[in-house]
Subunit: 227 residues, 2 copies
DNA sequence: ACAATGCTTCGGCTAGCATCGAAGTATGAA
DNA sequence: TTCATACTTCGATGCTAGCCGAAGCATTGT
């Protein structure tokens, strides 16, 4: 037996993938319900409940009852900072999750990242656009070329209204699953909106998965000249 | 399921009590043999061997072969700092394996944290340095001022060689016993080295305690203008 | 009062992992 | 070469902990 703080207790709490996912979700400082966190971790409500109880007993999270909801949030910024440090170390050691969790290879295929699309298809899309000089990549920044502007107008994407907003039209976003960039920004959102509107794909409820129909994926590939 | 750094992997490595004990032992920055670490954790040699392999694969420790011995040590101070942060959180939440032996007060007074000093004296030191504008604190980062540079040169600390290394010269590290920051980084190491070289203090064998002599502590306080 | 929602608790199943004995490999000494 | 030391790998075992279905509370809405 050794004296001192029991780091194994804290670490083992974070060490379970389901709990780590829930804690990661709470790192934005917001409070979430048990159901939301269960979906985030890909487990059932009752499993999430036992995990949350353990985290609370361990002092990593706090619970706030409000009506029939129970909101969970990180105890304080000390917990958040620790998680951030661990992410830094994990990233530095190359421990980046490419392998998806229990049962969701669909997430790697295509998923929502804020309001645009990420995943294999999204990375292929940006590769194709750059390859045909419709978008130029300058380091981390992307910019639409003239031919690119004409190209996207074909899809009924209103570039003028995008240009007037403060938001950058083209932006690259690093894909953790691919370690490659995909298209974000106003244009990224417009492409995803168009994908929905054309009926090529739909959001799977409660997840970040973008599920293409068989004909939808073919149409998407043809529209954007993917291989 | 989620993309991003895999903190669960790192945390689960630390989360096993046997591994946590071994890592804690290595927090003094020294390298230990597998047999020593097995004794430290209270497990057999072969169990320790499998644990050490996992830690090495995970990038938390490094192995150095020397004759028929194999020495294991923490990969770098990033790992040490993470462990210290976890101790801080564990202590703050009351997760302390209380076997408050006679060593405990000495440990809180001054101890080794990877390669620099932690504990009450170390926290006082950083407070003093910041109070006299020798070091400026910007959030979590520390930086040495011009007058600070001149100040440390007095002690024969070679700042140029510190600056050339990739390691940050000034860095803050959270102290588990004090819940306050102390000085880490290249300068933190240099100060500890100077403390040893000046004969102000010595390491107590088999512990992380830094034991000052009576005159040594007086000299240390005078040298760095502590109260 | 009744139904619906949100969450927790219980019971049983299963997989993964820590653990150790024993055998195998590498290095150094006699 | 032969023995001793240091460590790793293999194989088997036993326990822990995550997981889910079902049932049980609690709160809100109708």
């Amino acid at each position: 037996m050794k004296e001192g703080p029991d780091i194994a207790l804290i670490a083992s709490l974070i060490g379970d993938p389901a709990r780590a996912n829930m804690l990661t979700a709470m790192m934005d400082g917001k409070a979430y319900t048990a159901t939301e966190l269960a979906a985030e971790a890909g487990i059932t409500q009752q499993t999430a409940s036992t995990h949350l109880k353990k985290l609370e007993t361990g002092g990593l999270i706090l619970q706030r009852k409000q009506g029939r909801h129970r909101y969970f949030a990180l105890s304080d910024d000390q917990v958040g900072n620790l998680l951030e440090s661990m992410m830094g170390l994990a990233a530095a050691r190359g421990h980046v999750r490419t392998r998806t969790g229990p049962k969701d290879p669909a997430l790697r295929r295509a998923r929502v990242c804020y309001d645009h699309m990420a995943g294999e298809l999204a990375v292929s899309l940006l590769d194709s656009l750059i390859g045909r000089d419709l978008i130029v990549s300058e380091g981390e920044d992307l910019s639409l070329t003239d031919s690119g502007g004409a190209y996207f107008s074909r899809f009924g994407i209103d570039l003028d209204s995008l240009n007037t907003s403060r938001r950058p039209v083209c932006k690259s976003c690093l894909d953790w699953s691919m370690r490659r960039s995909h298209l974000a920004g106003g244009l990224g959102k417009a492409v995803l909106d168009h994908t929905y509107a054309a009926g090529w794909a739909r959001r799977v409820d409660g997840t970040r998965i973008v599920e293409f129909t068989r004909t939808g994926e073919t149409a998407f590939r043809k529209a954007f000249d993917l291989i």
